[in-house]
Symmetry: C2
Subunit: 137 residues, 2 copies
Amino acid sequence: MLSSPEYIEKLRKSGLRPTKQRIKICQVLFDTKKTFHFTISDLVKLIETKANEKISLATVYNTIHAFEKKGYLKEISINSSQTYFDTNTTNHHHFFDEKQKELIDLEDIDVDPVKIKKTIPGKKIKSVEVLVKIDSE
Amino acid sequence: MLSSPEYIEKLRKSGLRPTKQRIKICQVLFDTKKTFHFTISDLVKLIETKANEKISLATVYNTIHAFEKKGYLKEISINSSQTYFDTNTTNHHHFFDEKQKELIDLEDIDVDPVKIKKTIPGKKIKSVEVLVKIDSE
DNA sequence: ATACCAGTTTATAATGATTCTAAAGTATTT
DNA sequence: AAATACTTTAGAATCATTATAAACTGGTAT
Ligand SMILES: [Mn+2]
Ligand SMILES: [Mn+2]
Ligand SMILES: [Zn+2]
Ligand SMILES: [Zn+2]
């Protein structure tokens, strides 16, 4: 669990001013060994409960997009009404339960490497994401 | 190329009344050997140009969701501001160019079968979708 | 310390895709 | 033809996200 001075350092190194809002969001997102998935509204609730503080919605959006751009978060490709983010920035895939709206990590060992045999002239592959939709049986 | 009476038949068999709006949308979507990907606004434009007709936006949404429910269309899982649909309802994967907002089919032979080695108790797999994001090189 | 500036936060408005509403229209059944 | 259930429609509502622009703050120079 990193304390405030360490996030301050991390933010500065990224060229982001260490404001109290950004530090608080770092604590909520990164003060845990386990990575997790969240939407903006999940995060707003987490800030209110876990941190007992209020950060304006615009700042939450701004910060999450800044962190995403710096590579501290990943956006997950699912066609849902809300965007999902992931504090696990390694290459990995997901189960998605559309009813419960829950994402579950598939570690690399859980999925054989996906080999793409087709190429598009002038285009390069940026990412390969596998989404496994699941449902109660 | 199916003519109107054949869509009428197809719609009736599906329990959908063959209205002139639904028949028109069938023609725009299915009167071609090639399958394709589209958003609702793409489709509205296609109806206006290809069919030189106007169908209310609510009806276009209603019809597309009815067709999707009947299995004549598939919704594609990408995190875009608009939902993408596919007239190719076979199991297949996609390239997605986020800049050009273009989807390209990956046929089954283009991707090795994706083997998922993890199971979630009480859950069954509904679909496995691979999304390959590409970019100009 | 004080002043300054660029970057940041904030409340609020705007946007845009999608869904809802309820009235008018239409296909099918009786 | 009349009755009925289904469908279309314009317009309003919803809701996640982005834009705006004024107030605020961290860092730096004086
Ligand atoms: Mn983003
Ligand atoms: Mn749908
Ligand atoms: Zn994940
Ligand atoms: Zn396709």
